[in-house]
């Protein structure tokens, strides 16, 4: 009989305004387990390692195949998606904690609405005339499409904000994800017609100037989005745009 178990240590918090605390759990091991399965076990039978009854741990998840971006959390000190993190590859006890750059709602569940607000701010869309039939869109070289596709896979998961030292309580920095989206829309044949608006949107106190080029974002991104490349490109663009602006004055 297999008596192997999985030992977890989870940072918990009942409400946003309450202090956090730790609880430990031990659950039966099965092959091919991921962190979600472990949390589901606790949900079904919330008893601590010490045998105390407790409330189920609350966390965020949805697709369970790393495409929705919901289940980001800090696992053994590293921010990542819980669904694609396999238990077999982790040291025990497995330590789970909520991301630190977003307000905690409860336990591992955080509020990432600031990221969606940033997408509003940078005008992250193609301003089409309407949804009626206006014929095909612009042609695009497959090589350009492939590059753009890398950026269009951003799932707003928040990992890049979590690891960015410039995203902190003293700064308003919108973080790398939104900048990657500026790169995406400004390269699109229609989107580039409004690129100046998006440039303006990232020139403020919450904008690109905050980036200190630590390059953590690109390492933490679960989709390997070349975020630092985007930031470098945008910096170049903005330099020219700034010079042109001075000339126009």
């Amino acid at each position: 009989m297999d008596t192997k178990t999985v030992h977890l240590k989870i940072k918990r918090q009942r409400r946003p305004d309450e202090a956090s605390y730790w609880e430990e759990f031990e659950i039966p091991y099965r092959p091919n387990m991921n962190v979600i399965i472990a949390l589901q076990d606790i949900q079904k039978n919330p008893v601590t390692r010490q045998g105390q009854k407790t409330t189920p741990v609350v966390w965020d998840c949805n697709c369970l195949e790393e495409v929705c971006g919901a289940c980001s959390m800090i696992i053994n000190g590293q921010v990542r998606q819980a669904c694609s993190t396999l238990i077999d590859k982790l040291h025990q006890p497995i330590v789970l904690a909520p991301m630190t750059k977003f307000p905690v709602i409860r336990d591992l569940l955080v509020d990432r609405s600031r990221m969606f607000e940033s997408l509003k701010k940078i005008k992250g869309w193609i301003p089409i005339d309407g949804t009626y039939d206006l014929g095909p869109g612009p042609r695009m070289a497959e090589s350009e499409r492939r590059k753009a596709y890398e950026f269009s896979r951003c799932m707003t998961c928040g990992c890049c904000l979590e690891v960015c030292p410039q995203v902190n309580p003293l700064s308003e920095f919108m973080g790398p994800a939104a900048l990657g989206q500026v790169r995406l829309f400004n390269a699109h044949p229609t989107g580039q017609m409004n690129k100046a608006e998006r440039w303006e949107a990232i020139m403020g106190p919450d904008g690109i100037a905050n980036c200190s080029n630590d390059q953590n974002c690109v390492k933490a991104c679960p989709k390997n989005i070349p975020l630092t490349e985007a930031i470098a490109e945008l910096n170049r663009d903005l330099t020219f745009y700034g010079i042109l602006g001075l000339l126009r004055r």
Binding site: N45, R106, P127, R139, A141
Partner: protein, 587 residues
Amino acid sequence: MALEREKRKMKNPKIAIVGGGLAGLMSAIKLAEKGYALSLFSLVPVKRSHSVCAQGGINAAKNLKGEGDSPWQHFEDTVYGGDFLANQPPVKGMCEAGPGIIDLLDRMGVMFNRTPEGLIDMRRFGGTKYNRAAFAGTTTGQQLLYALDEQVRRYEAAGLIKKYEGWDFLSAVIDEAGICRGLCAMNLTTLEVRTFPADAVVLATGGIGYIFGKSTNSIICNGSAASAVYQQGAYYANGEFIQIHPSTIPGEDKLRLISESVRSEGGRLWTYKDGKPWYFLEEWHPEYKNLVPRDIASRAIYKVCYELKLGIEGKNLVYLDITHLDPKLIETKLGGVVEIYQKFMGEDPRKVPMKIFPGMHYSMGGLWVDYNQMTNIPGLFAVGECEYQYHGANRLGANSLLSCFYGGMIIGRSVVEYTTGLQSGVDSVPSTVFERELKRQQQINDQLLRSADGPENPYQIHKEMGEWMTEHVTVIRYNKNLQETDHKLQELLDRYKKIGLNDRGNWANPSLPFARQLYNMLQLARVITISALARNESRGAHYKPEFPNRDDENWLKTTKARFTLHGPELSYEPVDVSLIKPRPRTY
């Protein structure tokens, strides 16, 4: 036009859309574009909706490969693939709208794969001989959803769309005359229950995979909203038609989809027979080979594993092989699939064949709607996977995304017509109508939070429901087993009365919404099971060895389930087959 705007100003209708996947967002965009302000409700931030999981493509007969494809051919394939159970006029409308929808998405900036000339590339899916599906790598659904999410954000920034993310739909608000006048919903963080008056409510609440415990669906796809309005009098149609996708990676938490596009690009299914690889689909279906429709491929794998006992190493698994394909093609066209398989299974599909097994994927059935996407409850509309209209008895790959967009386009027209024609708006409805519904829903919560301390674990009930549904109400169905499954579901409903919540807090407590959703799932599970039990024939995804043939004489009709206190009551209506005459379906 000006007159229409004048009329609208006077009426200023309130519109609510529930669900932030492709169908919900397309509906929202179509209405916002016409100047209507609306509320958009979703369990999750809309960008995380289940549409992101669609992988392979979206069909539209643009005929970009010189094959002579046409919307009529697409229509023909869809009706035939659906085994003639779909009403034909709306399917024809959808297929005709396809090419324009692709153009629209292209203009919105969807990163579709391109040909060397910079045009949209197309690939072939099951059940057709044409390269008809536009695709963006293997995350087509994600790319389409993001495009709509961006357009919705634009209207949100302009103040036309107000989002209620993190709200769970509990019920429709229905007045004395039986007209839908709004909805009741619960905030998942504060657990506040509120009613929202609306002249029209559009349900775009997606699939029902969670009823089967494990499926390819996201965990929010629980059918709870559809079930809630079914219990309020909406008909649920063709519930027995459940699509089982041939290729998923079995997992304890979910069945992860391996896109049909793997076979479009040359992937082959096989297992060992007499010590040698046996490509069973290629042998059994020499014309379509690995690209037969999903119901046929799934049944073939079941036959190989259960009947012939030829699964890999005696397990219920077969190989899906892409090791012979050009690595460059895999990279640009199948990258996402390879990534998922590698991450979750730890093996490289470029080197080792993938191991897969069929899994619950999609519901062809759903809320009954008329050609205007309206349910039998006036003012309550349904669109996307939660309705039944476009796929008949089996859906073709890459048609679901299309049906979401087309349904949303219809909503853009029909909701306007309906609200314009209303005698009196929601403002004239007495407040007691809303108070009554609010009280009813609040009472359910109070009861669960205060007194649910019984011995039954809701998660255990859910597990048992999922196991029974998966075993008896998927690929192969026997009447005896269906009957027993319904008894089991009734037993579970009985045990539900004695559940205990393991968290009774009033802040961000998922146990409460789960308990509520579980009840609705059980009710809908009965609809699926009873509808399957009644249909004594085999058609599309519904297969009974005891009745192996399609029986048009008795069963060319739509199942309509109505809620009663004694269980689902079935009635039937004829299918509109006025455009293509039914003929036997052979691949």
